[in-house]
Symmetry: C2
Subunit: 238 residues, 2 copies
């Protein structure tokens, strides 16, 4: 089905725009994707509900396509220079029992960090990214941009760390006195690597659940950016 929409006050357009708000994304179980590469990945994952574009795309004809003008596209897009492809997709659901290597993000605020960490977890063969309930959503537009499509290739979902305590080794990244150097960590087969908030570090709850505290040896300053620290830890554990 292909239709033309010329007004940015069209109800469909208003609906898509409403999904820029995390509350609405949660209520509807949908998010807004953008760009050709992301669309390909989302189509492959069977998540795409409908597409908004300048020109008809050669995709499954059961997926509605809405042809829009620049004004409407600017309303839909989160990009300064829209590529001309925006789509609505279903938030996927994931089974929670068959992962060995998990990255847990504890109160990550910055969507760029969350997206970059998701992309890095995929690159180092992690099986899932789990986010605390107070972390930014991976379906935030900036998080999706930083993911570079990684969110379609690795499960990302919200859960409590305590659900992993019984079956996983919990490794918490923090600069405590008792923290051991990253090279000295003896990994178990199933583990969760926990990274904390940009300003405040990991939560007290996460610290209580930890089996090991790990640190990266640095000099001159007292912390690294969380995405850099996560990258170094995931690389080292690889």
């Amino acid at each position: 089905m292909i239709k033309v929409i010329t007004s940015k006050n069209n109800d469909k357009i208003k609906y898509v725009v409403s999904l820029k708000d995390n509350k609405n994304r949660k209520k509807e179980g949908k998010f807004i994707g953008e760009g050709r590469k992301s669309l390909e990945l989302a189509l492959h994952a069977g998540l795409v509900q409908e597409v908004y574009t300048y020109d008809t795309l050669l995709i499954d004809e059961n997926i509605p396509q809405y042809l829009v003008n620049e004004e409407v596209m600017k309303k839909l897009s989160s990009s300064v220079n829209p590529e001309g492809i925006v789509f609505v997709a279903n938030v996927p659901s994931f089974k929670k029992d068959k992962y060995n290597k998990i990255l847990f993000l504890d109160s990550i605020n910055d969507p760029g960090n969350l997206g970059t960490l998701t992309r890095t977890a995929l690159a180092f063969g992690y099986d899932a990214v789990v986010t605390s309930s107070d972390s930014v959503s991976v379906y935030n537009e900036k998080a999706l941009a930083a993911c570079k499509g990684a969110n379609y290739l690795i499960p990302v979902f919200q859960d409590d760390l305590e659900n992993y305590k019984d079956s996983y080794q919990i490794i918490v990244s923090t600069l405590k006195e008792e923290s051991i150097d990253v090279e000295e960590v003896k990994l178990e087969e199933k583990y969760v690597l926990v990274l904390g908030n940009e300003a405040h570090g990991v939560s007290k709850k996460s610290e209580e659940l930890a089996d090991i505290f790990v640190k990266i040896p640095i000099e001159n300053i007292n912390s690294l950016n969380v995405a850099v620290a996560g990258g170094i830890l995931m690389y080292s554990f690889h």
Copy 2:
């Protein structure tokens, strides 16, 4: 000297605001710093020309302090929630001959990446960060924010990579067929690690100057965020 400024149309305020533009920063050799921690570091480095604040600060009385209201502070500050301390500082100059470990940033566009990489270079004991002429300035407000003060503790300046060819081993991060894994690099005493643009990688000129190409072994996707890749390389070389 302590003076009160109440109007955002004051000439001094207009001058500070003009330094938000990189061209004016270059012409004047000044930049805008922000926040108490940065001010302390900039004072220690002897770079501070004048301070704009809500309340008088206990600093060297030869440095002029201008007391401003919220409206003026909002005009000066780059922060959504201004801490209430903005200062004008002199861009420092650096001697270019006594460094062993240099990070070279080749056409880095994103100020957050540039700042994060500077912070990481400091944490891993690099001696200087050199930026190509087409990289974003470290004195960009977002770059400074991501530096978290690192710019006051490690020399950061613009230069051409070819000036290092004779005395340094040039190590270029890129995913070429001939790239060797990061663990296999045999570092010389003096080396330059080169990281390239977020979208296009390192420039052709940098590739031509390379002694070694290095890569980080990853799976599933074909690149890491440049700040994450830089972090892993600097950690590995540490």
